[in-house]
Each structure stands twice: as structure tokens, then as C-alpha cells.
Symmetry: C2
Subunit: 634 residues, 2 copies
Amino acid sequence: MYPQLEVDPELTERTTKVRLLSSHSDAQVALGANSDAKAAKRAPQPKWKRALVRHVPVFQWLPGYNMEWGIDDLITGITLGLTIIPESIACALLAGLPARYGLCSAFIGPLIYLIFGSIDKVIIGPTSLVALVSVQFTVGRPIEFAFLLTFLSGVVQIIMGALRIGFVFEFISMPVIKAFSSATAILVIESQIKVLLGIKYLVPGLISSVSTLSSRIGEANMADLVMGICAIIFLLLLELLERVARCQKRSKALRICCRYLSTSRNTLIVFIAGIVSYIWLGYREQLPYSLSPSAISSLPNFTVPSLTIVTPERSYSFWQILQELKVGIIVIPIVGILTNISIGKLTPKGLVDTNHELLTVGLCNMFGSCVQAMPSSGAFTRYAISTACGLKTPMANLYLGIIVLLALSFLSPYFNYIPEATLAAILICSIFTLLDFKLPLRLWRESKRDFGIWLLCFCVCVLFGVEVGLFVSIIVTALHLLFLWARPEILVRIQEMEDMQYISVLPGNGIYFPAINHLRSLVLKACTQADFKITVVIDGHKITGLDYTAAQGISKLSSDLCRQSDASSSILLILYRFPEHLQHLIDVTDNLVFCESEAKVKEFLTQESLRNGHINLTAHIRASIDLGYKIDIE
Amino acid sequence: MYPQLEVDPELTERTTKVRLLSSHSDAQVALGANSDAKAAKRAPQPKWKRALVRHVPVFQWLPGYNMEWGIDDLITGITLGLTIIPESIACALLAGLPARYGLCSAFIGPLIYLIFGSIDKVIIGPTSLVALVSVQFTVGRPIEFAFLLTFLSGVVQIIMGALRIGFVFEFISMPVIKAFSSATAILVIESQIKVLLGIKYLVPGLISSVSTLSSRIGEANMADLVMGICAIIFLLLLELLERVARCQKRSKALRICCRYLSTSRNTLIVFIAGIVSYIWLGYREQLPYSLSPSAISSLPNFTVPSLTIVTPERSYSFWQILQELKVGIIVIPIVGILTNISIGKLTPKGLVDTNHELLTVGLCNMFGSCVQAMPSSGAFTRYAISTACGLKTPMANLYLGIIVLLALSFLSPYFNYIPEATLAAILICSIFTLLDFKLPLRLWRESKRDFGIWLLCFCVCVLFGVEVGLFVSIIVTALHLLFLWARPEILVRIQEMEDMQYISVLPGNGIYFPAINHLRSLVLKACTQADFKITVVIDGHKITGLDYTAAQGISKLSSDLCRQSDASSSILLILYRFPEHLQHLIDVTDNLVFCESEAKVKEFLTQESLRNGHINLTAHIRASIDLGYKIDIE
């Protein structure tokens, strides 16, 4: 009846395109609108060129690059640069590394992502999330472990991308991602509160950290706290300016001014606090608050990281390093890529090629480790800034990289003047965006199961570490999906067709081996209650898949129906509307038939009722009325 | 229209029964046949009595026990007893234990199964499968490890049964079970060939065992080999008598005689070989072939096994024992219960209450460990015998247990006269039933995927051990099921309704979070090719489930359709026939509507085509003919 252009998902993407294209280009004739211009656009390109454009997205936008985009990108790049510098320093400190190593990630990542990155608004660099997770694997170990973790994360990401197993990320559901990021926010905030209070210790785990903090609360340094709180208030106030910038009533100049003040708030506070420290140190020898650890002022060397680590105390072979890093080399790549995927889903394009993203971030990390960078990924804070500033293309990465490089070459000595409490304030304020407690409330109202997953993930993340929480909740959600195959929805009803009763069985999904016993027991239970008198019809029109075990189970069901009834009669099992390509799997027995049409089913039912004795319609109606059902007789 | 008695699988089993019963008892009035007798049968019993009958099946058949059953059961019991004695000795030797310990399992298991067992034809006792697996965990360790493994297996089985997680066994598909048992057969046969050759060594793994065997083939003892081959020929000949027994043409006496000769063949060969050894030893001091290890003649003491093991060499704490037994305490319970479930599926009742079976076999093992038994389970060989002898009730277990106890008390000294090669021959002949290479051939023809699973399981079992093979194949099949949720069947077509084109999307299954990106990308791809001009209709009538992530994905899809088209127009997303209880999860956006009827869809399509410009029917038909489609105009 209809001109159906079936797009079989099993077919390659290419075929799909071709099929739909042909339908489309013909339909265009009818539509008649701007079809010429578009047809020109779709002129066939050589294969290598298409592959190049697909794998190296810089070729997609560079040819059409123009002045207008350039200005927007320059402004965004500079703003991002000014944001990423203090953020990187803060993340490096969170990861237990000197400031410099954060900045190294902040210039190499964007430069590589500029060429290979497929999501415009992802800005690669250190993030508090990755820093928080990686510190668990590198804490108390030589600093080389951090670079090697970066290197190995990159390698694992590239391997995952090359093997095209990016689809496994689809097994991380939104409640899990949200709970995971909220838990991270809580952990980061907790870890920064001690910095705000000027108390120094390194204890793994939230509970022991909180108990240590409460026992040492007396050691709190008021100057650090005051500095931190001032910084937080300053940041919050400047964040409020964003609202002014959005208000259409104000003059344009004021709005632009407010936006830049707001987006560069991190840099401003670092700058102001740095100047305060600098001037103060001109008068006194020591400050009442602590400054960030001293940094070496120089560009990093490009050296391929050694796979063995030798320190004065001991040397580690590659195997020993792997044993020390444990699951870190799996967790860091996954955590790193998760943010990028989440950001990708927020962008208008909406679709993320996870494998390409894995390869790109893997490259960033691999090259990053050569310039002593920490593991890096995209960040929501930077996504928000690039959206606010109106980023057009990844070119902003170039300007951003240059600014970070300049900072690294010339400003490093001045990083020592930044108070630690200021950096803590920046981290706390930026991580707040990840805290989302509206979602669990909604889930509680609308989907208790999703809420349960959220709660589980959140609690395990907070109590036992984010990597454990992520792992546990992925396993639990996967087990739930498996359970759905074991207990699919199967509707068993006693129906009637022209006064002949039959047991109608309607499986809602494909029937695979874990479900077949469930199906059999449901049918047999219904048959037992109906005294093995009436025919069973399994309606297979919703069945999309069947494996050998399940097919055998259906054959067995038919012999069950044979054996359980009296020796003289056996119940007929009608398989109605079963997909044809699945029928050959089922062994045909004496009392099993396939039917494609309702008329055929009726024929079989009539035959059976003649053989077994007809069910009295009038008596049945009385029975049905007794049961509270109403039957329409046509 | 129909009097529907919906059996929601989510409801408890109880409700299901009640609902169907009420329909049934009313229907009975109409049917009018033997309803009174059955109604009396179904007279309500007190709740505790029903629970007792359900959990202690002995009460199901004992009240109605009669003479006729008794005779059949007695004959079966004696035959089984005569079979299980040599088999138990052989299995004990296979497990690296003295003969006595096999017999201990062979009397305690049946006596407990008599009371609690739910599958008539399962006869608990040592099996070569369990023996083969358990020897890997106990080899080279003190003998107490074997009893403790029995005890812990029982505890694990009882815990699994009590937690009602028996349904996990449904995740073991038939190809996996078949490959697993074929591999076991291969491994048992390989392990017995060296016994037939009279070569003694203990090497784990098939490859190293085969290489050891081939390097030491020169040490083969001809007398052992001759004895073994004679025994095998004898057993095969007596097995052939079974065919005579089945032949209806022969006289009844001959048939009965043949059947008993055939079913007691194991005992006969042991008896004959034992007598030969006994007489021979009267003349010579040593025999040319090896006899089974010496056994102590006494009934076992009933002692609760100690959870610590102290040997002259070293002592093991409970924790150390667990570390030594490793995954054994999980694998043995699973392997043990697998056979029972498989047998249960072969019986006419066909349905196995896995949790009840776990509890029962768990009890058998727990009590077994108190009388120094090895881990035990049902066996296919014994199932075949009890079917052939016409077992009526589990009462046969009683006679069987008594015979084994008698053998244990009085015959133990004579076990020393049984040649080892005879026992090897018994094991080889009995394990042959498990070898099934017809299935993989059929799978190869009909379901390549199932064949792949079979091959994987078989190869891994043979090369790396049965427990590894079982684990790997369960994981692989589970991953495949998960993958089905990530890439479900989704049919995307361009359809038309009264000359209005639309993109029809028909998901075949429930849409859960792993699939939502796939769905979105398929729809967006189709929309891109159709230039974002025509409405998208997602037909949800096959959807049985939706989670929060997927629901959000659908809302996002609608905003994708909004953003990607020109600012002026947005594509309408019609969600057609979505189950009502899932609708509230989806955020309603401007361009997303729910429709229940086709008329409503048509209304929306008309509205949209008026808004976006009508698609010319005539031009469209021309285009369709170009494409090779034919359209019927009504």
C-alpha cells in the first residue's frame, strides 16, 4: 500500500543514506524548494576526502572560516584562557600536583582538540572530577605516576576508540551520570573545605576525611577562611552579573561589560588576591594565609614518558606500575570521556561519535603525558563559558592554548602569590553547577526504579569512592536489563473467537533463553486451571528475536501440552504471526501449527472444538456475567 | 469485546491462580464433565498444610502410596543401588578420594531427597561431572578439603535457594549446557584413558595431561588395558540388550530378563572382575593389573565438619580454606544443580522449582559432609535407569539408600578386589550419554550465533577447565542480551497517509537507556535526508518499557527537531499508541504530541502539511514509480 523505504538498522549506515537519499531527491522534485542549492552541496567527493573530513573535523569548518567567526572565537578564547589558568592550577593542587602540571594539560589538550575535536564547545583541560578520581590512584606515589596515568589513560582511550567499543558508554544511564557528578561535587567541596580552613592532611574516603577534619577543626586558620569566604562572595556576586547581562532592558554596553566581568571572574579574583599577597609581602615576611606551592617558570620539555619509574627510594617496573595504578587506567579514561559525551548531548548537534571522541581525547592524553600533563577532559564550566561567549568554531582553542602557553612561560613565578583559599573558592563555585538535587526529586515522583539507581550510585560514590559507585551502578543497571529478558511482559488471557474459547499468550518482547521457562510455566499454569481443554494461541507479532534454547522451549511446551492432557487428546498450540525467519528454529510437533492469518486460527479453533466438544456460548456468557464481564454479541 | 482474564506477570502467582480458577470453575459448569470429582480434589486446605505439602513433597505422594507403586519402586531401587555402588566408587577415585567416600554420598543424598525432593527421577549421588570439577579444587590438599567443599557447597546452595535467586540459572542457555556437558565427557574420558593404560599421574588441564600421557605411553600396562577393553566390550554388549528389551516382538520374560541384565551391567562387570581378582589372588601374590585403593569397612560417623583443618604438616584457618577453595564454593553448587534442572526439564512435569531444588540439594550436601561425603547431585545415567525401570515415586531412594548402606557395612573389604580399569570402563561408558555432537551441527545450520556460543563454551571448557568455560559463556551470552537492549530493532520508513508523507519509526522492543541514542541518531539521519520537511511519527505499540533516560531522550529528540530545522518551522513529533503509564515520563515540548488513534494522527498530519506546504500527490506518485514502487489509490 505505502511506498515503504525500509531502513534496516542492520544495514550499514551507507546503505541507509543511499536509500533515503534516493527517496529524498525524488521527493524534492515535488517539493520544488531550494533543491538545486542543496544538490550542489551534496556533489560527490572523493572517498579519501570524505574520510579525512570525517576523521579530522578541522577540515569541516576551516575552509569556510571568516572574520566574523574569528572575532567571536578570539573573545571566547581569551575569556576561556583567563578561566582555565586559575582552574588548572586549582585542579593540579586537588590532584596533589604542583600548579605547573595543570597548565601543561590546559595548553596541549586544546591544541590537539582544535584539529581532531568533533564537539565544538568541549574545551579539553584539567577538571576537578578527573583530578579527584586520579588523586586516589597517585596519592603518596612519585609524581611520575601522574604522567604515566595520563599516558595509559590515553592509550586505553585510543584502544577503546579503535576497537569501536564506544557504545558501552550507552550503558551508563542518566540517573547514574547525574548521581555520579553530584557525588563528585560533594567530594570536591568537602576536599576544598579543609583548604578553606587552612588545615592540611591527606586522607582517602569521605568519612575518614570528615572525621579527621572535625577532630582538627581547632587548627583552622582564620586568615585562610576569611580569604576563602571573601573569594566565594566575590565570585557569587560576579556570577549574578550574568543575569544583568541577560536582561534585555539594560543598555548593550552595560550588558557586554557585565558579561565579561562575569565570565572572567575566576581570573579577576586570582589577580586581585595575587596582588594583595604581593603587596603584603612587600611589608611583612610571612602572610597569615597559605600560598600555592612554588612553580618552576619554564615551558615543559617534550619527552616520551618512560614506562619504568626510578626514584631514589625504589624503582618500579611497568608491571609493578600497572599493579599500583590498579583499575585507575580503566576508570580515568571512562570518567574523562563521560563529561565529553554529556556535553556533546547538550549541543544542538546532539549526536556524539563516541569512538571518535575516545580517539581524540586519547590523543590529547597521550601527547599530554609527553609534556608532563595530568589526565584531562572537557568540563561543564568551560562549556557554559563558551556558550555564553558565543563560541563559533574550535579555533578558540588556539587562542586559549596560546594564552596558557604565555602564562606558563612568563607568569609562573607569580603563581606563588595566589592564596590557596582563593583557588579552593574557585573550585567550590565552579563545581556547584554539577550539584543537581532536582533530578532525584523528579525521579522519586515519576520513576521509583530510576530513583533507586540514583540513590545507590550517589551513596556508593560518596561513601566508597566515585569509581566504585560508577562500577556498582553500571552493574546494577545492566543486571536490571538482563532481568527484563528473564521476566518479560507476557499477557496470558482467556479470549474467545466466535464462541470458541482459547488461551491467548502475548509476549511483549523477543523471547530469549532466560524467559522461556517463565513463558512455559505461565502457559502451563493457565492450561492446568483450564483443565487442559482449550487451545493455546501464542501471538508472536511483537516478537523480534528468538534463540535456539527458546525455540526448543516452545517445542517442549507443545509436548508438555501433549503429555499432560488425557492420552486420547492433546491441546493444539497455535503459533500466530511468528516472524518467518524465526519459524525454522522451532521443531514442528503433531500439535504445533503456524498461522499467519486470523481466518486460519479460526479454522483451527473450529476443528479443535469439534474434536474436543464445543463450548456452550450461552453458558459461557452467564459465567462471564457472573465474573463481572460484559460480552458484546455481534 | 472479549472476556479478558488478564494475567499480569507482575502479580503474585497466587492472584494468577485465583483469577484463572474463578474463570475455570465457571467454565466447568458449561463443560459439565467430571467437574465434581476435581472440585472435591481442590477442596481448600489449611494454609500450613499447603505450605508443608509444597515444601516437603513427600506428603504429596505418601498418603496415596500403594502396593503397585511399591513393587515398581522396589525393583527400581535395587537396580539403581546396584548401579550406583560401582559408579560411586569410580567417581570417588576420579575425585581423588578412597572408594568409601563415594558410597557415603550415595546413601545420604537419596535418603534426604526422598523427603524433600521435588523431581521424581533425580537420584542424588556422586557424578563424574561434579567429581571432575571438584578434584581441581581439592587436588594435592588434605582429604578434609573435600568434605568441607561439600559442606560449603551445601551452604551456598541453601543460601541461594533461601534468597530465591534460582532464576539466575535461566541465564544458562541450552547450547552452553550442552557444550559444557560434552566438554566434561571429553575430559572424563581423557582422565580415564590413563587409568585404562595403567599410567598414574595427576596433572591439571587437558593439554598438559595429554602431553604427559603421550610422553609416558611406553609405561602402559597391557593387563590393565586388556581388562579395561574387555569391560567396555562387556558393557556395550549388555547395553545393546536394552534394544531387545524394547522390541515388542520378543516374549515378555526375555524382555524383562534383558532389561535387568542391561540395567545392572555396571554391577555385573564389577562383580565378575572382582571374582576374577579374588580367585587369581588365591594362586598368585600379585595381580598384573591394579586394584582400587583399600577401603575401611565401617559405617561413617555422623560428625559436623570442623571449619578449620589441622594436618601434621600445617593447619588451615577457615579463611585460608576459603582462599584455597577459591571459586570452587560457587562453581560446585552451580554445576551440581545444573544437572538436576536439566533432568527436571526432561520429566513430564517439565517445570522445576529451582529454588526448592537448591534447598534440597543443599541439604543433601550439608548432611553429606557430616558423614564424609563428596559433593553430589543428580545424574543423567541414573535418570535413564529410573525411567527404564518405571520408577513411580521417590520411595525408590529408600531401597537404594538401604542397599548402599548394606554395601558400606559388609562389602567394603571386597571393594579392594575391583580392578581400577573396570571402574574406568564404567565411567567412560556412562559419560558417553553426555557427548552430543548432533546439536552443534544443527546449530551450525540453523543459528550461527548459538553455534558460536556452543563452540566458545566447548573450547574454553576443554582447554581451560569446565568452570572457566561455563563462566565465560554465561558472560558472553549475558553481554549479547545487553547488546540487544543497546541496538534493538527499529524500523524507520517513509510512509504516507492520504498523500501526506511522514517518517514512521517503529521500535520493536521496549526502549531503555542504552538504545535511546541509537533511536535518536536513526531518526535524525532520516530527517536530515528528508530535509527536515516532514513529520515524524514514533509508533509505540510494541514498546513495553521506557526508563527516565530514554524518556528524556525522546524529549530531546523533539527539541533536536525544533533546532535543526529553519527557525520559522519545527518538525512535529507524534508519539502514536504509547502505553499510557509511560507517557508521564516524557516532557511535553511544543512540537511533541501524543496520539491514541489513527484519525488523530491524520488530523495532525493535515495540520502540518497545511502549515508547511502540501506535498503534491501526483508528483509524488511519479516519483514513487521512478523508485519502482506501486501505489494503490483508493
